[in-house]
């Protein structure tokens, strides 16, 4: 797509209902890989998806979607929107895909699938920026989303030699307090079998 087309497409998109952002706060932790450590980035992301789905079982708020200022719609089943490779393509993962197992999920994530813009169902967004080398992330939630989990690149842990990955969670501060977000992140880390080594990029 050339630049003129791209600018025109963006302008068209902005005329839609995508512009209004939720009051977003972000929380970031470092997790030492542990049992999660795997040479394949696809498998690592797949395991993160499964861990997030497990954590959503305990707290489904982050997969909900705000439909009005005082109304949030929870999904009937855990739904994830996964953006491998920095969100160039997006993939919808429902109960069937999540139940297929780690290897099948990793293969599916590697294959990619363009996100359908027309549909905006509830779901937690999982954005993988680890392969691109991003070290810190802070996002704004658009379209009524309540949560976005972002996998960041590995960096040396403050207290050890083994590298630790960053996990950032963007959450709607109008509906969720920081403690709840921290508990959700802790649940994801526990489900991954990873050890938390700090909060924030330089603790």
């Amino acid at each position: 797509m050339d630049l003129v087309e791209r600018v025109r497409a963006r302008a068209e998109l902005l005329r839609g209902a995508r512009g209004r952002a939720a009051p977003t706060a972000s929380l970031q932790i470092l997790v030492r890989a542990g049992a999660w450590s795997d040479p394949s980035a696809g498998e690592r992301l797949a395991r993160l998806c499964l861990a997030a789905a497990e954590a959503l079982g305990a707290d489904p708020l982050f997969a909900a979607r705000r439909t009005a200022r005082l109304r949030v719609q929870a999904p009937a089943e855990p739904v994830l929107w996964v953006g491998p490779d920095g969100g160039r393509t997006w993939l919808r993962l429902g109960r069937a895909e999540l139940g297929a197992g780690c290897q099948a999920l990793a293969a599916r994530l590697s294959a990619g699938d363009p996100r359908a813009e027309a549909t905006a169902p509830a779901g937690l967004e999982i954005l993988d920026l680890s392969t691109l080398g991003a070290l810190e992330w802070r996002g704004a939630l658009l379209g009524g989303a309540q949560g976005r989990l972002c996998l960041l690149a590995a960096r040396p842990a403050p207290s050890g030699a083994q590298e630790a990955f960053g996990l950032a969670l963007d959450f709607d501060a109008a509906w969720c307090e920081a403690g709840r977000a921290a508990r959700f992140l802790a649940a994801v880390a526990t489900a991954l079998g990873a050890e938390r080594v700090g909060c924030g990029p330089r603790s």
């Binding site: 630049l3 003129v4 791209r6 600018v7 963006r10 302008a11 998109l13 902005l14 005329r15 995508r18 512009g19 209004r20 952002a21 977003t24 972000s26 953006g83 490779d85 920095g86 969100g87 160039r88 954005l127 920026l129 691109l132 080398g133 991003a134 070290l135 810190e136 992330w137 802070r138 996002g139 704004a140 658009l142 960096r155 040396p156 990029p201 330089r202």
Partner: protein, 263 residues
């Protein structure tokens, strides 16, 4: 300055400058090695390439890197207009945010990608000094103008002036002026909080930027020597995360090899 005066002045500034809605901004950070950029600047200073009294900093080199990266990612020079349209900017000109005695300001360095490096560095350093002084002068003048505001408020309350009509009539002119300003100055901004000792910055984009390069104080890195955190705050409606990271990677890679790629 008394607290009441300061608050009144800030309120006036916010009324003038704040956008109608907060821009939904994403922010992503990478790190670049500091040593190569610092070594290049030290060499330029030792050779006497810059006019006496001017000191080029890494942020001035970042202007060059940003301009070079814009050649491959030109959409970060786009600008979102009040009407919802997108203005593409052909000219590359990076704005540097200034803190002049606590008063915000900016200076623009035109075409930092193609001109000789020493010229760009010298102009950036000189403009920062000049515009810093000018920002203070403008702020004092603005404070004087604001003292006449009660008169206008009284005229509005008496029905002599109608502020909404005033705004409606002037909005197209404001947008025209903004468009012209963007064409002249470019829309990519640079904010360096390193000299203040900050290791990061979080917040929203300024009204005049679609993307803002962020520079923080160096941190100890895994290799020898400190690493320079370089961030990008960008309008989430205009750009995707992978585009922002690709742009930022280009900038950090250019900063890692300044002699080969920025000279």
């Amino acid at each position: 300055m008394r607290a009441a005066e300061l608050i009144a002045e800030r309120r006036g500034a916010l009324r003038d400058a704040a956008p109608a809605r907060v821009t939904p901004a994403h922010q992503v950070w990478l790190e670049a090695p500091l040593a190569p950029a610092q070594a290049m600047l030290d060499r330029l200073h030792a050779e006497g390439g810059l006019p006496p009294g001017l000191r080029a900093e890494v942020r001035h080199l970042l202007l060059r890197a940003a301009a070079r990266a814009l050649e491959r990612h030109p959409w970060f020079n786009d600008f979102l207009l009040l009407s919802g349209g997108v203005q593409h900017n052909e000219l590359v000109s990076v704005r540097v945010s200034l803190d002049a005695e606590g008063r915000p300001g900016h200076c623009s360095v035109p075409d930092p990608g193609r001109r000789p490096l020493v010229e760009v560095l010298a102009e950036a350093a000189a403009r920062e000094v000049e515009e810093g002084v000018e920002a203070v002068r403008r702020a004092v003048k603005l404070a004087r103008v604001r003292r006449s505001r009660p008169v206008f408020s009284r005229l509005v309350s008496e029905g002599v002036l109608e502020p909404l009509h005033w705004l409606r009539d002037r909005l197209p002119a404001l947008e025209r002026r903004l468009r012209r300003d963007v064409r002249r100055h470019g829309s990519l901004g640079l904010l360096d909080v390193g000299p203040l000792g900050a290791t990061g910055v979080a917040g929203v984009l300024l009204a005049c930027h679609s993307a803002l390069l962020l520079l923080a104080a160096p941190r100890p890195g895994r290799e020898a020597g400190p690493r320079l955190p370089v961030g990008l705050a960008f309008d989430a409606r205009l750009f995707e995360a992978h585009e922002a990271v690709a742009f930022l990677r280009e900038v950090t890679e250019l900063l890692a090899e300044p002699e080969a790629r920025l000279a």
